[in-house]
Every structure is written in C-alpha cells, then in structure tokens.
C-alpha cells in the first residue's frame, strides 16, 4: 500500500525520477537508523538509569516480594537439610590440606549424623571448645564404655604426622560425642572455592550481592 501511494502509475512515470525518489527514501531511512544507533551506544548504563527512573511502586513491591520468596525457600531447604541429616551444618567446605590427597582445600563434604556409634575410620567433623572453625579428620582410636555407651575418640588428619591431641583443648585427651557435628558421607570436588573466595575477600561478596540486587530491580519481569 505504501509503495502504491508513492509509485506513479500514470504515463508521466519516468525511470530517472523514480530512481531519484528511491534514493531520497533510502537516505532518510539511513538517517533514522543512525539516530537509533546513537541512543543504543549509550549502553546498558543508560538503560539502567531509564528503568530506575520509570519504576512504579506496585511493580517494585511485587519484585521485592518475589525476591523474599526466593530467599525464604532457600532458607526452608537449608533448615530441612539440617533436620534430615541431623547435623548443624549439613554441608562443610574443606579449608586445610590435612586430609590430602583425599580431600583438598575447596572441596565440599556432605555430613550426616545418626545415632550409630562412632567407629574407627570414620571421617568426622568436630568443634573444639574455644575454636570456631570445625575440623575434618579421621577417627583412629575408639574407647566405648560398657555401661553408658559413651565414647572417647581420638582423631588424626590423613596428611598429618601426629594425632590431634595438639589441637584439642588444654588437658583434653579425647573427644566425646557432643563435640562431633557429623560424619562425612559424600563429597563434591572444587565447588567450595566459591565460599572460600567470598569469605577471604568479603569485597567480592558485596559486589556480587550489589550486582544481583541491581539485576532484580532493573529486570522487567
């Protein structure tokens, strides 16, 4: 239709005038495209500023609520895992090289704590009074009482020369069951590096959260 309007069907049509008209139209279209290109070259910074300016309250609240739902469901999954595995922290990251070559720094371990008695050879994660970071080592000695069923446990890292008595609190010879957070039952390599990097350089954590927040606010859905 557009073409028919500007194409002269009468006998005064001449090839040269049509050609001139076509060239003029092409020049106008290319000028319009150049103008759009300049706007796009302002980049996503311009887009972000535009979209922040155009936020409506209702849309913003919807997005905040959906973000809250995501965070809450992640928390539910975490607490559910704590219940299922019976341990305070069902997933730990290996921080030192004392269990090499089996577990390297940056691997993650899945823990499980059951009422089964602790036996030699199990890899346990335990807390020492006064130390905040849990330690992942192997049990090498077990002494279980006849009457109460309580255990005295001695641990050692596979890659360490001596046992862990140096790591225990002053005067402590053995660990008891209440020190132990869980047994390692499964393992994934390398995944824990994300946590190690975020803990040792907290600036990366803030940058990541800031970027995620910006993404949530500026996304259209």
């Amino acid at each position: 239709m557009y073409y028919a309007k500007h194409f002269r069907w009468d006998s005064s049509y001449s090839a040269s005038s049509n050609l001139v008209y076509k060239l003029q139209r092409r020049r106008r279209r290319s000028k319009k495209l150049k103008h759009i290109g300049k706007r796009e070259n302002m980049g996503w910074i311009g887009d972000t500023v535009d979209s922040i300016k155009s936020i409506q309250i209702r849309q913003l609240l919807t997005q905040v609520v959906s973000l809250g739902m995501i965070v809450t469901s992640a928390l539910i999954i975490w607490k559910g895992l704590m219940c299922v595995t019976g341990s305070e922290s069902p997933v730990v990251v290996v921080l030192s090289g004392s269990m090499e070559p089996g577990f390297k720094r940056g691997d993650i371990l899945f823990l499980h704590m059951s009422k089964d008695p602790i036996r030699a050879g199990e890899i346990v994660v335990f807390n020492i009074d006064g130390r905040e970071i849990p330690i992942v080592h192997r049990v090498i000695k077990v002494h279980e009482r006849q009457d109460t069923g309580e255990v005295d446990v001695l641990t050692k890292g596979d890659n360490n020369y001596g046992d862990d008595r140096l790591l225990y609190a002053q005067g402590q010879q053995y660990l008891q069951r209440h020190h132990i957070m869980g047994r390692a039952v499964g393992f994934l390599p390398y995944v824990g590096w994300v946590t190690i990097v975020m803990t040792e350089k907290p600036i990366i954590k803030y940058i990541l959260i800031g970027a995620l927040g910006l993404l949530v606010i500026t996304s259209k859905d």
């Binding site: 036996r119 030699a120 890899i123 090498i140 279980e144 596979d158 039952v185 499964g186 393992f187």
Partner: protein, 167 residues
C-alpha cells in the same frame, strides 16, 4: 528476553544443573560394583610390652599384612584409605579400637600388596588391661570417590592374643 545477560544466566543455570546430574549418576554407578577383597595379617613378633609411667599398657609389634583389594576400584575411585585396627574388650570398655597402621592406595595397580611393618601408631590401652588379652585385627578400607558417596567396609580376623606377662 534475548539480551546477553539473560542468555548467560540461562546457560549457566543449565550447565550447573547438568553437572550436578552427572555427579549424581557417577556416584550411582558405584553401586553396580560388587567388591571381593581378601586379606591376611600375621603377627610376626611382639617387640615389647610395657606399662607406661601414666599407668597405661603399651605394646609394640611387627606384622605382615598381605591383601588384594583390586576389586574395590572403579572408574570413580580417587583413592582407597586402608588401616589395620586392633579391637578388644575390657572390663571398663565394651569396645576398644586402636589403629595400628594405615596407608593410602592411589591406584588399582598398588592394591595387591604385602608389607612387613611394625605398628605405625602406638598401641596404648586406656588402663592396664592388656596382659593375656585376646584381640581381633580388622582391616578397614574407605573408598574415596572422585565425586559422590563414600563407601567403607572391613574384614575381621580373629584369634590373636597378647602375652600374659610384660616383657
């Protein structure tokens, strides 16, 4: 909907999901392996048997361990951690387990071996109950996978005992 950011996000999510699935399947494939290991431990000599100043009995012994653990290795095995433990019962304790020696087997070729060694870790009792004590020697193995669930099992060898008197 088609910007670089959305595409990257979708790609990364898909990649992580597929990786997690692959790790799970790899771990499940370990269940198809039925191991049939064998082991033999001989105590060659009791080197000495003393009561320590703190009142605990201590033994030093030399043993010969020979084992064939090749059937434990699968494609998903990183290493096998083995150790020999002495298990015995005393009046106060229903179970005592003391690890005497351990080793790491990194590959299937090294899984068939014999070794003549004295105990790497001190065989110390919690008390002085070891005279004439009958004990079992157990060879435990812990299979540590490249990814996934860890397995452990043991062979119990009975019939060992310590001398009646200190020497």
């Amino acid at each position: 909907m088609h910007s670089f950011g959305y595409r990257l996000n979708g790609l990364l999510t898909f990649a992580v999901t597929i990786l997690a699935l692959m790790c799970a399947i790899t771990s499940l494939s370990d269940n198809f392996n039925t191991p049939s290991p064998s082991a033999e431990i001989k105590i060659m000599n009791i080197n000495w048997f003393q009561k320590q100043p703190q009142g605990h009995d201590e033994v030093s012994l030399t043993m010969n361990v020979s084992a064939d653990l090749q059937s434990l290795f699968t494609w998903n095995t990183k290493q096998v951690f083995i150790f020999v433990a002495a298990e015995y019962e005393t009046r106060k304790n229903s179970l005592n387990q003391v690890s005497l020696w351990d080793a790491i087997i990194p590959a299937k070729e090294h899984a068939k071996f014999w070794i003549h060694t004295s105990n790497k870790y001190r065989f110390v009792d919690q008390g002085n109950n070891l005279r004439g004590k009958k004990f079992n020697l157990t060879l435990h193995w812990h299979v540590m996978p490249k990814t996934g669930k860890m397995f452990a099992d043991k062979i119990v060898l009975t019939g060992y005992s310590l001398p009646e008197e200190y020497r």
